[in-house]
Structure formats: structure tokens, C-alpha cells
Point group: C2
Chain length 302, copies 2
Amino acid sequence: MTYASDNLVIVGLGLIGGSLARALRASGFSQRFIGYGYREASLLRGVELGVIDEFTLDLDEAMERADIVVVCTPTLTTAQMLEKILPLLRARTGGPVVTDVASVKGNVRNAAIEIAGVMPPQLVLGHPIAGSERSGVNASDGDLFVNHQVILTPDVENDPAAVELVRAMWRSAGADVVDMTVEEHDAVLASTSHLPHVLAYTLVDALASADNSEDIFRCAAGGFRDFTRIASSDPAMWRDIAVANKSALLDSIDVFSDHLARLRKAVQDENTDELFNTFERAKQTRDEFTTLLAQRIQSKPS
Amino acid sequence: MTYASDNLVIVGLGLIGGSLARALRASGFSQRFIGYGYREASLLRGVELGVIDEFTLDLDEAMERADIVVVCTPTLTTAQMLEKILPLLRARTGGPVVTDVASVKGNVRNAAIEIAGVMPPQLVLGHPIAGSERSGVNASDGDLFVNHQVILTPDVENDPAAVELVRAMWRSAGADVVDMTVEEHDAVLASTSHLPHVLAYTLVDALASADNSEDIFRCAAGGFRDFTRIASSDPAMWRDIAVANKSALLDSIDVFSDHLARLRKAVQDENTDELFNTFERAKQTRDEFTTLLAQRIQSKPS
């Protein structure tokens, strides 16, 4: 059997890294999977589960052996990890291709350029739009990326072969790969993910501090529970994302606030036409989106 | 067998009215169920399904025979229906008790006082916090109110016996009954339901009008779908609710906007402590709420 990769190194073996290793082992993309990280317990567990073949606590060794390095650490830690990895990236042909999975791309690109002087040709940034309420290697799932989008943000400095290898890797894991600029990615994620989290957190916090908060939470039901589900997400992770994607998030908060102010005025003026038209437009958009989402999921072979 | 009611009239036989009739027939609360409304097809279907025993298109007849009248029409229509019903309400002992299910109570109370001069002693306003994405008598479900809250807003003018009859009716349908003032009810519902709908509609509409809306909806996934589910609700119904509960809704939009502006400033200033503390507080509140909601559902016998 020919593999696209001999030794694929997962840096940070949690839900995402573990699920990727499982998927790529099943698809035959890489011959061996090597874990690297600080938490030996996770790495031992990864070997026990058969997610990785072996692990090392020595980054030099991992980089020496790897032909692909996937940095699967949390958003803000990714830049810190690149400070250690990039100096070990030799600019030779055949050196490892490095990619990441962080939710924000601008800060990772800026960190890479600050560390290396230019965007390293072998560093291809990416972001799988997939996750789970569970975390850790125990929750890893080889089907996590099937039917999911992975956004790559190739840079003009990138080696095209490196970009194609990362694209092939995600396709091999069952994902749809989409290319965007870093700015497009960060704006899209601000709109679809970071802003909704901010809105959900803000709503729950506002209601919790209201005089009638006891009555509010006593009478809230299933619809409220669903709407605020994302407010149960990890506060440290979302603090980091909010800061990492500050500029795009501020823009999307401002756009939202403008629209909310407009709708507030329609309520104030009892402008029933504008209320109906806004709600109707939103309903149509949302219904079309869910139809497309369902088709996307059904049309993909798993 | 002794019944609390001989003839219970459902005005507007849809999901709520049909489900109430089913529940009260199963619990033996009323001997007979009579439907009244404009749409004969729904009423015929109600008889066919065994939800009601008979129906009439003559409101005089319905009012003459009823000992309880439950107005189950949509929010804004409730006030219009009371214009027809209240003049037929004779102030004699033994005249029917009238109640409703509208999502907003202030406008219904104001309409009743305008029609009748004072709040009629036999008119007890209420609101079951229950619903379904489905509608119509075909979707009616005798368990719809089990484990759900019903808020009654008794008035000082109300006959205490009328209030107790309505309370007994909802308890007989399996609901928890909570009393509030009209103002408390409308503020709580603005916070837990009307504001979230406005936020979801506003978010989807704002994103739909963005330059990058195609990328946005292509990359949005399951979390976004869940967060915006309520933006697929009926636009006409929510236009009516927004106008009916204008004052409380404007207040809750303002409280939300203040909190959002504060969080925006924390992002702008990269105030990581405030971001973390806000997200953490919201997560704790939301986690406690879902635990309580789950307990409430589990602890109730059905």
C-alpha cells in the first residue's frame, strides 16, 4: 500500500487531533501516527485506544521524523506552539508540512510571520468546522469530519504542493475543503459562530442580573434552552477566540447592533410592515439554509 | 362521575385548543367539549378525531351552553374575539367562566376593560408556556401541557371561584400553574421568548444582507442551525406579539443592548478578565437552568 504520508504527527491529542488520526488511519492516508504534547496521560491513552501508534515528548524528534505536522492545540495556544515548531522547520524540500485547526486564522498568520519573518512556504493554515460538546481523545470519532467543511487559507508564500497535501489530507478524512483568504475566514466565522456565542452569553448574563431573574428562569422552557445552548460552552476558549478574532468580531457586533436598533424602531413605531418583512425574510433565509445543510449532509457518502 | 364542567367550549380549535380538550377529556374534567370557530373544516376534523363532541358556528349558542369558554385564538385575534364574547357574558352566577391562552396579557386585559368598562369578574387571563413546531387540530396532543407551566394573571376584579376553576382546569391537564401580575407575565415572556425571537430574526436578517452571505451560509453548521431555529417561526404571529408586547419588549431589547455594548467594550479593550467572568457567569446560570428544567420535567408524574 502507498501512503500519502509515512509519519503524521498530531500536536495536542484531543477531540480534533484524535478524530483526525482515526479518520486518516481508516482511509489509509498515513502509515504511522505519532502523538506529541505535554500531557503524557492523553498520549498514553491515545496509544491504548489505537488512535496513535506511538508518542514522543521531544519536539525535535517529532519534527525530524514527520512529513506532516497537524497542530491541534486550542486557538491561542497555536501561536505559542508555532514559536517552538517554526524554528525547527527546515526550508529543505521534504521537510514536514505544518498545518493547524485553530478557529481564528489572522492571529496565527500574524504570529507565524512575526516568528519566521515571512509566511513559511510549508505552513498551511486551516480550520475544520466541526466539533462536539465532548472533548479529549476519549471522545475522538473517525467520522467527525465527514460532511463537514474545512476552510484552508492558503498564502501567496505557500508551496502549492504543501497546500495540496493538506487538502488531500482533509478530503481523505471525509471533509469538503473550501479555500478562503484569512480575512474572509475570520469574517465568516465571526458571523456564524463567534457572534452567536457572544449573543447567547450576553442574553443569559443580562437575564441573570435582572430583578425578575427567578421568574424568568422558572418560566423559560425548551425553546430558550435550545437558543442558549452555546452559552454553556467553555468560557476560557471563548474568551481566547473573542480576543484572537477581535477585529472581525467587533465588526459583526456592530452590524448586528445596527440591525437590532432598526428592528427596535419598527417595534417602537408599530411598523407592522417592516416587522413582518424582516421576520419573513429571515424565515425564508433560515429555511433555505437548513434545506441546503440537510442536502449537503445527505449527498455526501460517509 | 362528577365533572367540574358540563360543557367546555373551545374557541379556535388548533394545536392548543385541541390539546387542551384531549387532556381534559382524558382526565375527566368536563363532560362535553364543544368547538366554536369560523373554520368549519377544523371543527369537523375535531369531531372526527374525537377531540370535541360537537361544534357550533353560532357564538350565542356556544355562550348559552358553556360553563367554561377557553379562547384559543392567536394573540392579536384574542382581543377581537373578546369584543364578541364579553357582551354575551351575563354577570349572573353560573354564567360561563372565560379564559384565554394568548402570549401577551397586557393588551388582552386592556381590550377587555375597554369593551366591558371594567375587568369582567368571570374573565381570567392565562398563558400556557407550551407549543410545538406543528400547528392545527391534527397536531393536538393530550400530553402537551404535562410538565409545562401555565401562568395565570388574576385581576383584583376577578371572582375567586372563577380563578380557581381555571386553575383546576390547567392542573387537570397536567400543568403547573403559576400566578403573576399582567406586568410580570409580559416582562418574563419578553425576556425568555419575545427577545430571543427578535435576536434570532435579527441575526439571520443581518447575515442575509451581508456581502459575504453566500460564504456565511455555506460554512454555517449545526450550532448555527440550532441557535437560529426560532427564526423559522411564523412571521405574522411574531409581528403581532412584538406589537402586543411592545413596552416590555422594548425594555428587554434595551437591557440586552446595554449588556452587548458592555461586552463589545470588553472585546475592544481585550479585557480578558471581564470576558471570562461574563462568559463563566452565563455558563453557570445556563447550566443551573437546564439542570432545574430537567428536574422539573422528571419530577412530574404524567
